[in-house]
């Protein structure tokens, strides 16, 4: 069965104009990275951008496995974490022995940490694909995560290992103490990694990764060993995950067992999948979204992880190609100029869908506050209004919003589907489909 959830649609070969647009996109991206902190210059923004940069490298590395080679891993954080730990130890060694290695090289060392582990364990791990690979990756993740608490000298036990990035030899006169300098370091490695990872998709081995994803059986009959292809994908993914880990080590000046843990593996899976595995820019979108959600939601509600789970389930069920997939779905409509046909039905469905979502949020927040034992009071503040979690009225409102919203929304969604049919038919008539 074709796994439509992760497989990529084909890419049209580039004409002259498209080539220009393609390189232009990368230039614009580079410029945006440079200019961004000048526009949003608050300390909090720069910290967020740094976190997002790290998350993007991590998610892109994960997509080498998932989107390109069809390997679902529940333990990708081990490469990230081991890269981070190698980076931290190297930083401490450099300071102790006064080696002439400036800070900007540290993420590369992190990359080699991730690569080393992938080289060692990757051959055994990629023996099987599919569901078995997923389970094995889970087991390896648990193995490494648990080992990190035993090998205290390497992993520092519960408290982890710390370092001071400003003590390393300076480069361009930068000490990398201020966050803005760390941001530019992250941006540099982000651009380099993204370019390299994109280039990988245009190589023979990158194409064979896609072939292995689509039909590993047939791959053997055109002369390739799918095991070797998967192993190489694992090594590349490990390398770039290690770079992300190294960047994290530099940014936080600490590495601990959380780097290697199941939550970290789960988050990168969320980010990549929600963003969309079938497009190169999918994980980028996902990383941005998930990082902002993590930062924002955690301050607002105690059960932000539940929202994550629900969003993830929603994407899996209704938009398995992720946000990037949704965007690409509209591309033919934009080209044919029929996107306008969708606007009325989209607007119409906005209100009831919003009501449904608000009802759900109200129900969850009320339940969370109701069952909470510590004192934060029994009143939930949502949308600028107080809701008493013990009163039946609140529950009634929530129920009404959910049920009513769902019933009305269903009707509007049907109209969206009809409008979609009309718009795509019109697009096809104008020769613009896909």
């Amino acid at each position: 069965m074709i796994d439509t959830a992760i497989s990529a649609p084909y890419v049209k070969p580039a004409g002259r104009g498209q080539n220009l647009r393609f390189y232009g996109m990368w230039v614009v991206a580079a410029i945006s990275l440079v200019v961004l902190p000048l526009v949003f210059s608050s300390g909090g923004s720069i910290t967020s951008f740094s976190l997002i940069g790290i998350a993007i490298v991590f998610a892109l590395s994960y997509n080498i496995l998932l989107g390109q080679t069809g390997l679902l891993s529940f333990g990708h954080a081990v490469y990230y974490g081991l890269g981070g730990f190698l980076a931290i130890h190297m930083m401490n060694l450099i300071v102790a022995h006064k080696w002439p290695i400036p800070l900007p090289f540290i993420p590369l060392i992190g990359g080699f940490g991730g690569l080393a582990f992938a080289v060692v364990i990757g051959w055994v791990v990629t023996k099987r694909a599919g569901t078995v690979f997923a389970m094995i990756s889970l087991g390896i993740g648990e193995l490494v995560g648990s080992s990190s608490l035993i090998l205290r000298s390497v992993f520092g036990g519960e408290s982890g290992i710390t370092t001071d990035r400003t003590s390393l030899p300076h480069m361009f006169g930068w000490s990398f103490g201020p966050q803005i300098q760390v941001y530019y370091l992250i941006s540099f490695w982000l651009m380099v990694s993204a370019i390299l990872m994109y280039a990988l998709t245009r190589t023979p081995v990158g194409r064979m990764c896609n072939a292995v994803r689509d039909n590993p059986e047939r791959v053997e009959f055109i002369g390739y060993d799918p095991h070797v292809v998967r192993y190489l994908a694992c090594c590349f993914a490990g390398f770039f995950a290690g770079i992300a880990g190294g960047l994290a080590a530099v940014n936080f000046e600490i590495a601990n067992s959380a780097y290697l843990g199941a939550v970290q593996s789960g988050m990168v899976l969320f980010a990549t999948f929600i963003g969309g595995t079938a497009q190169f820019f999918g994980p980028i979108l996902g990383a941005i979204l998930v990082t902002y959600l993590q930062l924002g939601l955690a301050n607002v509600t105690t059960v932000w992880q539940l929202y994550f789970g629900i969003i993830f389930i929603g994407i899996v069920m209704f938009a398995p190609r992720g946000i990037a997939g949704l965007v690409m779905l509209h591309r033919p409509l934009i080209r044919a100029g029929t996107l306008g046909m969708m606007i009325p039905s989209y607007l119409l469905s906005l209100l009831p869908t919003l009501a449904l979502v608000c009802g759900g949020v109200l129900a969850i927040e009320t339940a969370a506050r109701y069952t909470q034992s510590e004192g934060e009071g029994k009143v939930v503040h949502l949308f600028g209004m107080p809701f008493d979690s013990t009163s039946l009225t609140t529950w009634a409102i929530a129920a009404a919003l959910i049920v009513g919203g769902f019933l009305v929304a269903r009707i509007t969604w049907r109209r969206v589907a009809e409008a979609w049919d009309r718009a795509t038919t019109a697009a096809r008539d104008r020769g613009c489909l896909a």
Binding site: Y10, T203, P204, M208, E220, I222, G223, L232
Partner: protein, 249 residues
């Protein structure tokens, strides 16, 4: 001259069920050899044994005199043997063009290169373009393989099989499910693409068999009951009784 393919006393059992018993077959280099027989005779199993999909329970398979039984499929393919599949087995999410490019990669020596841009490899591009023209799918170059018509997919299947330049080609029921016109086009395509190469083909369509084959072997219940030229097979009473019946093509 050493035969292109030689099967020596091969048995194949799945558990207690014996599919192939003491199979002996020889296909000369450059020969077009058809393997026919009733359903369930073991023709696809024979292909699987030759191409490395399964290993024989006993006996050996030789390719140009070298033992290949027990080797994995990719190693057999690298020695110059390529097969197609009865159920279309293309890379459904990749375009026709991408399918063919992947098929030529190994034979152009690219191996597992990750430092070269595949768009800048002239040999890959030229070979793929050639095959694309040969199978008449140049106009469908950028269509995902899963969206092709059935006959187009079968043509692509054959294209992938021959793209690697293998000189021993195994085709498993290439014209299955095709109309008369499509079958004729397919036969012309096969004849053109296997010029100068060794071809072993499994077919049910007798007109294809008798029109294409230099020699025919008949497989019934896992054993070859007759092997010879089309005239010899047509006149063979055992074959008529077991397979052709009275309405021989």
């Amino acid at each position: 001259m050493t035969p292109a393919i030689e099967i020596r006393s091969v048995d194949k059992r799945f558990g207690n069920v014996s599919i192939i018993q003491d199979l002996n077959l020889s296909v000369a280099q450059g020969e077009r050899h058809a393997l026919i027989g009733p359903n369930g005779a073991g023709k696809s199993t024979t292909f699987n044994l030759i191409s490395g999909y399964t290993a024989p329970s006993s006996g050996s398979v030789l390719l140009r005199g070298e033992v290949i039984s027990g080797l994995p499929p990719y190693q057999i393919n690298r020695r110059g043997l390529s097969r197609s599949f009865q159920v279309t087995n293309v890379f459904a999410n990749m375009t026709v063009w991408e399918n063919l490019r992947c098929a030529v990669l190994w034979s152009t020596g690219q191996r597992y290169a990750f430092w070269k841009n595949i768009d800048n490899l002239p040999e890959v591009r030229d070979r793929a373009t050639q095959i694309l023209a040969d199978i008449n799918l140049a106009t469908r170059r950028d269509v995902p393989a899963g969206l092709l018509t059935y006959a187009e997919q079968r043509a692509l299947e054959i294209g992938i099989t021959v793209a690697g330049g293998a000189d021993v080609i195994l085709l498993d029921e290439p014209t299955a499910g095709m109309s008369r016109a499509e079958t004729e086009r397919a036969v012309a395509l096969i004849r053109r693409l296997t010029e100068g190469r060794t071809l072993l083909i499994v077919e049910h369509d007798m007109s294809v068999v008798f029109g294409l084959a230099d020699r025919i072997s008949v497989l019934v219940y896992g054993q070859i009951i007759a092997s010879g030229t089309p005239e010899e097979i047509r006149g063979n009473p055992k074959v008529r009784e077991a397979y052709l019946g009275e309405e021989a093509a």
